[in-house]
């Protein structure tokens, strides 16, 4: 049903040209001609918001951002009555791997590279664009002790960083009942062995050149073990998968780890969102995990909104969805905010980006308009 809508939108695009001052056939800056968008509110991504800000981008890269940024001659200017922000980033994703994101044949698959599991045009990936998600960390599904190397991929286009994380399940998610390890002490013994005499990716991780993604498991004791393990071996990286991170905020900050907040579900949700507020008070850098296709892509913004409802500032929530997430994924030089030199991954919203009530009007990846909302007559103006 969705692809059919894409042809439908392109037709509409031509019809709506009348509103645009002057616009070439398709709004794409791939072939060298520049493009500019003026939005009522431009969210740079570091918390500052520019009224009537303009962003200019050419060949997929942002060239100018500012209130009165000069629009070079011959550049198409798109007026947008709403908000503009950088594309959202999901920190733990399985979309695009088509269910092959976990090899359960053996406990440790340290050299497995998720980049080779990524199919950009897989149906699971398209859903992310509609929700404004332009970049995500493709990670192995929990289930094996060491799942492999995560990749950072652009939604619908290529992988921009291959060895983003080494994925490790230190808690019960790394155990199975019919192969090693079946106990927590067994998995801890194996990890100690791998990291005390490190070879290959373990060596690079111990040297600090490869961050780890630690699935600590849900109970507070398992999160404690994960933090202790990271500190013992001087590892940097991300703590994922736990709903009880709020009480561990001080320990997490001391260990210098980042956090990926897991999905908000009505029954277990309270701990997740209170944890996010506690982490933000302790200045622990955090982003949001998504885990589609089993979780609908809209959960990213829904979890952020639930955190705001529990007391998180909406600017912090947007930063967690964009710039902080980019830093945690190690691609802050490429994506994550609306600044010159970064990729032109932009999302046009009808209202505040962190308000689930705002519609995704259009999404640009590397300067290409890859999604546009159907223009319904009574456009939902704020």
């Amino acid at each position: 049903m969705r692809t059919q809508r894409r042809m439908h939108t392109n037709a509409l695009l031509l019809a709506s040209l009348a509103f645009v001052a002057s616009a070439p056939a398709s709004a794409s800056s791939r072939e060298g001609d520049a493009l500019a968008i003026r939005a009522e509110k431009l969210h740079v991504g570091d918390g500052t918001v520019i009224e009537n800000g303009i962003v200019v981008f050419e060949a997929g890269v942002i060239t100018e951002v500012g209130k009165g940024a000069p629009v070079p001659k011959g550049v198409v200017l798109i007026e947008h009555a709403g908000h503009l922000s950088a594309g959202l980033i999901a920190l733990r994703e399985h979309a695009g791997a088509g269910g092959e994101s976990n090899d359960s044949s053996r406990a440790v698959m340290d050299e497995a590279d998720l980049a080779f599991a990524y199919r950009p045009h897989h149906s699971e990936v398209q859903g992310l664009l509609e929700e404004g998600i332009t970049t995500f960390v493709l990670a192995p599904r929990p289930g094996s002790l060491v799942g492999g190397l995560c990749a950072v991929a652009k939604t619908g286009s290529e992988v921009i960083s291959r060895r983003a994380y080494l994925s490790i399940c230190t808690g019960t998610n790394g155990l199975t009942s019919n192969r090693f390890p079946t106990s927590l002490q067994g998995s801890q013994a194996e990890l100690e062995r791998r990291f005390s005499w490190p070879r290959g990716v373990f060596a690079t991780a111990v040297k600090g050149e490869l961050p780890v993604m630690l699935d600590g498991g849900s109970s507070r004791t398992e999160v404690q073990h994960a933090i202790g393990f990271a500190r013992r071996h001087g590892l940097k990286g991300l703590l994922v998968g736990s709903t009880r991170l709020g009480e561990m905020a001080a320990k997490i900050r001391a260990a210098g780890l980042g956090v990926a907040i897991s999905n908000y579900a009505p029954s277990t949700g309270r701990r997740v969102v209170e944890g996010a507020v506690a982490l933000s008070e302790m200045q622990v850098p955090f982003g949001f995990a998504l885990g589609s296709p089993n979780n609908h892509p809209a959960n990213l913004r829904l979890t952020a909104a639930a955190c705001i409802r529990a007391g998180l500032k909406s600017s912090d929530a947007l930063r967690a969805l964009t710039s902080t997430a980019a830093q945690l994924a190690g691609v802050a030089d490429k994506v994550g905010s609306v600044q010159a030199g970064l990729a032109a991954d932009l999302v046009l919203w009808s209202g505040e980006p962190t308000d689930p009530g705002s519609r995704v009007m259009a999404v640009y990846v590397d300067g290409d308009e890859v999604f546009q909302a159907e223009d319904d007559e009574n456009g939902d103006d704020q």
């Binding site: 079946t182 927590l184 002490q185």
Partner: protein, 423 residues
């Protein structure tokens, strides 16, 4: 701080104002009239009991106990209760359960191979588990946590207090090292013959008691051989050698008399072979009463499982006669009781001591079976088990004669902290 929400008027003896449980918050009571010896620093906590059952055989009447920095700083009998100090009918040392079974179930035993002597259960203990608090409320202050008995040799146990810092390494007691194993039907319960079923590591392990016993002997023989032939070394061989040298207590779960016999013969075979002598403790030795002679011969320590109404307990249908504790003690054996981690209700460790007394055990022997005897097994007799100056301030406060069916634990102190307020 757990408080019983429905206060009964019946505890007439308790009349002091509420006790702040934060140590050091003790209100300064007026200087005692008689000459105070060199002004001792104020106690963190003071308690008064009509009777203190010290565990050394001596009962102190109307005793005032003072606690400082987690230790009992002074114990003075024949005193009236000063103002503001909680009074209770009886105080015993905190009880110790060597078979509390507070492991995290199947996550606490590495079943990929049936002999894992070196793996420490501490890695899988969850101190946030509600059962620790429940156990503390029944007056049990120290427990031994062992892996689930699904392996022949499960690994190392860890001794912990039931209240304290929330990290296992910080709460671990420097007790005698423990090697945990099992004999009987449980270690081979999940195994099945290889043919006809998908082969996984459950299809190549012993499926009979003979197989389990063979795994025990093979483990010890290999460990001794590995000392001479390094290429035969395997993880855990050092643990087994320490066990043979008696430096590591071997705690074997054996419910029935057949399995207890296997454990004792294993120890005697090690002695015959000259490999060493196991410091053997039988856990859940329900049918130890059937052939006590071999236990006496081997001076084996027995930890009894909880008494049940029908006497039957355990997966092998062992029968625990209620006079077992009395019979074994009369023959000079060391006996410990256990409640398998029962929380508040009719089957706490205090009740198990009462049921053992119903089987003929005297009060002092029952008190020893839940305090000094297990403390000795853990090698912590210098810290736990008795109420005396210098010992850890682990106390159980009772509202009547301990272990009587008509009294219960109304207050618990662990390391000087009031965990359950007697108010």
């Amino acid at each position: 701080m757990i408080w019983t929400p429905f206060l009964h008027a019946a505890c007439l003896t308790l009349c002091a104002p509420p006790l702040q449980d934060a140590p050091g918050a003790e209100p300064q009571e007026p200087e005692a009239p008689k000459a105070q010896p060199a002004a001792a620093p104020p106690a963190d906590l003071r308690l008064h009991a009509e009777r203190v059952y010290t565990g050394t055989g001596e009962i102190l009447k109307n005793a005032l106990i003072e606690v400082r920095e987690g230790k009992i700083s002074s114990l003075r009998p024949g005193r009236s209760a000063p103002e503001g100090v909680p009074q209770v009918k009886a105080i015993t040392a905190g009880m110790i359960d060597l078979s509390a079974r507070l492991h995290s179930n199947f996550n606490s035993v590495e079943q990929s191979t049936e002999v894992q002597p070196h793996l420490d259960v501490a890695g899988s203990v969850n101190l946030y588990d509600k059962r620790f608090a429940r156990l503390a409320r029944t007056g049990v202050t120290t427990i031994l946590v062992n892996p689930l008995d699904r392996n022949v040799i499960g690994g190392r146990g860890v001794a912990l207090k039931t209240h304290g810092p929330m990290e296992v390494e910080a709460r671990r007691l420097k007790a005698r090292p423990i090697l945990r194993g099992a004999i009987g039907s449980e270690p081979s319960a999940a195994n099945h013959a290889a043919f006809g079923r998908p082969t996984d590591f459950y299809s190549r392990r012993p499926t009979t008691r003979m197989g389990v016993e063979w795994e025990w002997r093979k483990a010890f023989f290999d460990a001794v051989a590995a000392k001479r032939l390094p290429e035969m070394d395997f993880p855990g061989a050092e643990d087994l050698r320490e066990a043979l040298a008696g430096k590591r207590t071997v705690m074997i779960q054996a419910w029935t008399t057949q399995d207890i016999r296997t454990a004792v013969y294993l120890d005697e075979e090690m002695q015959r072979e000259g490999f060493g002598d196991l410091d053997l403790v039988i856990d859940a030795g329900a049918e130890a009463w059937k052939e006590p002679a071999m236990l006496v011969r081997n001076s084996t320590i027995v930890v009894l499982p909880p008494h049940t109404a029908g006497g039957r307990i355990g997966s092998d249908g062992a029968f625990l006669a209620w006079n077992t504790a009395n019979q074994l003690v009369e023959q000079g054996l060391t006996v410990c009781l256990s409640a398998h981690g029962a929380g508040p209700g009719p089957a706490t460790l205090g009740h198990q001591a009462g049921f053992a007394m119903r089987g003929g055990l005297s009060f002092d022997q029952a008190l020893a079976a839940v305090t000094t005897a297990p403390a000795a097994v853990l090698g912590l007799s210098d810290r736990l088990g008795t109420v005396a100056e210098g010992m850890d301030a682990d106390l159980a406060l009772w509202n009547g004669r301990p272990f009587a069916a008509t009294s219960r634990v109304t207050g618990v102190v662990i390391d000087g902290t009031v965990v359950v307020n007697p108010r």
